[in-house]
């Protein structure tokens, strides 16, 4: 059986936290550039240009793209033939602690939601772990800012509401978000599952490459149509008007109960950061 040390996990998570925060994924920078070309409204083009320049400055000066370096959301796929020497979960939190401290990232986590004292090291992480075949460990760090997270919503629709109910809930969520989540947004949607799974689906949908559509043509068509509808709302970059309200929308689905139609809309901004490593 293959064995790795927990320390290797901690150092990998630390590196991913720093890299994710300083460099936007290529699909996002490409989407920003493409949106600038397609944007008919001059003030909106100026805004998109500032965001593109900011991404370059962040990379060149080794500074975070956004001051909200987020809560560290970590997705782990643990090969079932892998043995980890030491505590896996402790190693993930230690990696976040190290990455946020040594990488000069903002500590944005309070230890108790009501008492609200800052933990000082951005721990704990939000950790999603899956057991998969093989002997590898895949780690994805996706720091999530709360300007956009706060605008996210979840609703338990009833089956009779169908696809139109899902569409209406999405559009209502985007309108309510308005200028607050620093548009252009990136949107992850979950449909199906149960109460907690639909939220996780929406979060995972934010990791999907912006230039790829859902493999199911029905959902691919919905992604394209709903993105187009959102970009007709007029909210625009920063909410100051324009076409570019949303750079990308992904849907992930799961089987659900005969009585329910859960839907979750996880709003993110153009700073939809994620970085993956395989150990």
């Amino acid at each position: 059986m293959r064995e790795i040390d927990a320390e290797q996990i901690a150092s990998t998570v630390a590196r991913l936290c720093v890299e994710a925060n300083r460099e936007l994924p290529a699909d996002v920078t490409e989407a920003l550039a493409a949106a600038g070309m397609a944007e008919p409204w001059a003030p909106a083009r100026d805004m998109l240009d500032i965001l593109s320049r900011n991404a370059v400055i962040a990379r060149e000066t080794a500074m975070p793209v956004c001051q909200d370096t987020g809560m560290a959301v970590v997705f782990a796929e643990v090969g079932q033939d892998l043995h980890i020497a030491g505590s896996f979960e402790e190693a993930v939190h230690e990696g976040v602690r190290r990455g946020y401290t040594e990488g000069w990232l903002r500590k944005s986590v309070v230890g108790d939601p009501l008492e609200r004292k800052n933990t000082g090291d951005n721990t704990p992480a939000v950790l999603h772990t899956r057991l998969v075949p093989g002997d590898r460990l895949t780690l994805t760090v996706a720091p999530k800012g709360f300007g956009s997270e706060n605008m996210s919503r979840l609703k338990m629709l009833v089956p009779a509401q169908g696809v139109e109910g899902v569409r209406a809930f999405l559009m209502e969520t985007v309108r309510l978000a308005g200028a607050n989540p620093c548009p252009p947004m990136i949107i992850g949607m979950g449909i199906g599952g149960d109460f907690e799974m639909v939220a996780e689906l929406a979060k995972r949908a934010l990791l999907e490459p912006l230039d790829q559509r859902n493999p199911d043509p029905r959902y691919a068509a919905l992604e394209t149509a709903w993105l187009e509808e959102i970009n007709g709302l007029g909210i625009g970059p920063q909410g100051l008007g324009g076409r570019t309200t949303c750079l990308g929308l992904h849907i992930l689905t799961m089987a659900t109960h005969i009585a329910g139609l859960p839907v979750a809309v996880n709003i993110s901004c153009h700073v939809t950061r994620h970085k993956t490593a395989v150990i």
Binding site: P40, W41, P43, A44, M47, I50, L51, R53, N54, A55, I57, A58, T61, A62, M63, P64, V65, C66, Q67, D68, T69, W104, L105, R106, K107, S108, R116, N118, G120, G147, N150, G178, A179, N180, P181, C182, G232, G234, I235, G236, Q238, G239, L240, G241, G242, R243, C269, H270, V271
Partner: protein
Amino acid sequence: MEKRLSTPLSQEDVRSLRAGDRVLLSGTVYTARDAAHLRMMACIEQNRPLPFELEGQVIYYAGPTPTPPGRVIGSIGPTTSTRMDAATPALLARGLRGMIGKGSRGAAVLEAMEQYGAVYFAAVGGAAALMAQCVTGCEVIAWDDLGPESVKRLTLRDLPLIVAADAYGADAFAQGQQAYLQSVEARKTTGEPG
């Protein structure tokens, strides 16, 4: 065309601005966000002094990343302003003349801005590494225990801003979105390509 402004802001400065104007702001501003606003409200309730004199001043709703060695400040951009709405009218009544943040404000804030004469600027959310280059000084002046939420005195040089709401009740978000949608309609009518 941008207007250059320096803090502290006078009533005349504020009255000269209209929603949608572009401004380059220089001078001293103070950072305060959620936790600092709660503490400022407690100060007001208990008749204790605030960490800085409000008259003519500007609050920046921001919590920068830690300052790396050799730099003035870390990345700094605006946080969502509406979370500070509940505290804002009381601060405006005590002389606060400007705010920098992102997103729309509630009706009570817009009314208080008209009543007391104040301006709300939008900074570009998410452009934090770029805007760090407009900060030439940073010093924690109160509530260091709040970490990223402490009150800091910043010195700005030409921070690019948009007047998001002016002292006359106008709102650049509503105006901008409406103007864009009208331009789309106009293009449809004339058959020009979008």
